[in-house]
């Protein structure tokens, strides 16, 4: 019953996800033809009776992030193509190089190129295929809005919008992939007590609003290799 790391069977994690309806197509195909895995799935007895200790639990606090739908992100025609890859890019928590400063929010941009993840230094160009992920220390603010450059000049389109826990660094649960379109990439991060529109975000960036919101724009030069060149 115990798979080894080199087993040709999906892991128990993948089988559990399959049982919950979020396994991969490969797993679905494998399980269809594998008695061993079907037996493993069948060994998970459904919970019929909910015990008293569980029924006594108090109401949950709301989730930390309201995950935006993939569909919504796909509709945003911006220089960076958004897609859900909560698993494709992660930050090595044990090696967080951040040294904090007192007072005020902070934004970090992680760039994953192949197997390598680095914090963007503010100047290095990104390349098509790079994955970008934001992490913020929101200070006293409780909401984050992220915008990307729209096709319309000087306009922004919303990429992400969710509550954030104040005074605690948190990563945005999405990564964006840099496309091959020419031109710089631009991300506008706005923190505040609530969501803002793209126009309001641009106004906060340009003029401020007395500290009610905080805005930071990241402009990333893009290095597009010539045809046939390896990025």
């Amino acid at each position: 019953m115990r798979p080894s790391a080199a087993s040709s069977h999906p892991s128990f994690l993948e089988l559990d996800r399959h049982a919950l309806g979020v396994g991969s197509a490969d797993t679905k195909a494998h399980v269809g033809g594998c008695e061993t895995c079907r037996a493993r799935l069948g060994a998970v007895e459904p919970a019929t009776e909910v015990p008293a200790w569980a029924l006594r639990l108090e109401a949950r606090r709301p989730p930390r992030f309201a995950w935006p739908t993939v569909l919504r992100l796909r509709t945003v025609a911006v220089g960076v193509a958004a897609f859900a890859c909560a698993f494709a890019l992660w930050i090595a928590t044990g090696h967080d190089p951040y040294v904090g400063t007192k007072g005020g929010p902070e934004v970090w941009l992680y760039v994953k190129r192949g197997e390598r993840v680095e914090i963007w230094n503010g100047t290095d160009p990104v390349r098509p295929g790079d994955l970008l992920r934001l992490k913020v220390q929101p200070d006293r603010y409780t909401h984050i809005s992220v915008f990307g450059r729209d096709k319309t000049p000087n306009a922004y389109a919303r990429l992400y919008d969710a509550p954030v826990p104040p005074n605690r660094a948190a990563a945005v649960p999405f990564a964006w992939q840099v496309d091959a379109q020419p031109g710089d990439e631009s991300l506008l991060v706005v923190l505040g007590p609530d969501a803002v529109s793209a126009d309001e975000a641009a106004a906060v960036l340009a003029h401020g609003d007395g500290g009610r919101h905080w805005a930071r724009r990241l402009v990333l030069a893009k290095s597009v290799p010539r045809d046939g060149a390896t990025p």
Binding site: R2, P3, S4, A5, S7, H9, P10, S11, F12, L13, E14, D16, R17, A19, L20, G21, V22, A43, V44, E45, P46, A47, V50, W53, A54, L55, L57, E58, A59, R60, R61, P62, P63, R64, F65, A66, W67, A86, F87, W90, I91, A92, T93, G94, E115, V117, P173
Partner: protein, 169 residues
Amino acid sequence: MGSPTEDQVKEAYRRYFPIIVRKSGRMLRDASEAQDLAQETFLRLWRSRLDLKEAAATTAWLYKTCTRLALDRLRSPVRPAEGTAELGEAIASPDASAEDRSHHRAMLDEMLRRFPPEEVEAAILSRVDGLNHQEIGEVLGISERTVRRLLARIDARLAGWRARREVLA
């Protein structure tokens, strides 16, 4: 129909508790210990601020939390000895069958006492739950390269442990 909270509890329990029980059972062979561990893990899940509709993220969180809680229990000085030998065997030599139980229990004790916890966590996820490097990285929030390094290190430590034991024998 119960209250909204009760309905949410029931849904979460039916969805995730069987998975937690199985995961607990793979690490702690004592059924009542495994049931206690599953209950503790579910309570942590309920108190977390995870979006339980996100099954992939929730299962990754469950694997991490359940593994760590199991190791906490195994490190406890009052833990039962029964059922721990299998976990040591699974981590150290998943294909071995003839070695004695006391040897594997001693090996697990050594791992829990002296090995870095992240190495033991990675080894459990790999050798007990069958996760590949990418999945372990996702669960523990580390890169695949770090996963490979952790597993290589624990293998080297175990090889050293076996060599010392053979010398002593």
